[in-house]
Amino acid sequence: MIELKNVSKSFGSNSVLKSLNLKVCKGENLTIIGQSGSGKSVLIKHIIGLLKPDAGEIFIDGIEITTLKEKKLFKFIEKFGMVFQGGALFDSLTVGENIAFGIREKKDKHEINRIVNESLDNVGLPGISDLMPSELSGGMKKRVSIARAIAKKPKIIMYDEPTTGLDPIMADVINELVIKVGEMPGITSIIITHDMVSAYKVSKRIAVLYDGKIIETGLPEDIKNTKNEIVRQFIEGRSEGPIKLR
């Protein structure tokens, strides 16, 4: 289980997270929605240990990760898989080498090849392991990034804006993949997005981030029928309303 207690983070004078609280249960598919620049990426970077909060605690399976020493933290975060917004594939490595990167400690080359091919099959891109990332389209990069994340069989997988910048059909392909990965036994998925089509499709629960706090959580149906004016304005995509535009 993941639990954030009173997490605060500022960059200079800009307070991004303000005493934020959130719980994510094991095996859950949680989507965090919010405006661009609302701190969604900052939030998941805290969960994965890339950023340290100014105040508050973050527990993963009962372990407080903000106090872990560097060496333990590097070991600990191996249980995470992360799909970055732009894919973040390593430019200098082939697709196959990118996917094998997370399982590089395995000695058996055949086993590594088998996992690479299986992961590429899972995302519907068989036979591209020799291509370089620069030869892939945006959608392919995202799918390879998902393949790379699932190859190491993570317990927690996080997606940073998985459908941003994709056409609606490719976005749906990614949504289906997110659902498929979420159905794998024991995997907890956290998706951050501002794409409501994607959020309704892939989530078992949705949390709304606004002004540095989680202002509402609920099932997709609950969010659709919410009375909260801020949430309503966001999900309906209106420029007029209580949300302060930056």
Binding site: K45, L50, K75, I77, E78, F84, A88, K152
Partner: protein, 256 residues
Amino acid sequence: MIKFRRSLESFASNVGEIIVLMFKSIFFIFQKPFNLRRIVNHIYIDGVKSMPVVLLTAVFTGAVLTLQSFFALNRLGYETFTGSLVGVSLTKELIPVLTGLMISGRVGASYSAEIGTMKVSEQIDALFTFGVNPIKYLISPRVVALMIMLPMLTLFGDFVGIFSGKIIADVVCRQNPVLFEHQLLASLEFWDVISGLIKSVFFGLTIAVIGSYFGLKTEGGAEGVGRSTTMAVVVASIIILVSDFFWSKILPFTLR
């Protein structure tokens, strides 16, 4: 006044971060796994492939130094000492410093641009999510490679520069090449060459750490990468030029 104070604080903080990065990158060299493949790769790409640049620099530095020394010494009637002056100047100062500056432009800039691009495209964060320490994986192999290759390139430059000087002395200045060689060997000491090589080990460390540091500090897309690259070359070059003076004072054999 407040602006000046902030600049001073920012400068002190950057210096502190660079020193910490330097010690961390050296510390991780000795931690398993040893990344030998990456070290060899950098030795080839950043060292061996820099040989043409060093060759060109050394050829013309040796040539112009010989030419100017000969003309200047000729006015005083001491042109027979051209070989001595060229040998000592090249091996102790010119080749180590100019090689450092050239490698700073070629390799330091590429370190900053590559690591900076990785930073803005979140590849550094991705490394972290695989339990890989970016300093150990990206910077330590570069530090090792340049600390090995810069002295090698300097030694190569020493030979090329002296050879080039000898040819110019013979062909352009019409000086007996045997005399040039004799004067050079008579005045050039083993420690002159070694002091140049010791400096270049430090220059290699400087270029790798500064290039990587500004790469890691990159923010703001393509413009940020450009800014980091410029800063990496400028700062590394300044450190090389300033530290060269202090090395010349500190290294005991230079006082002999």
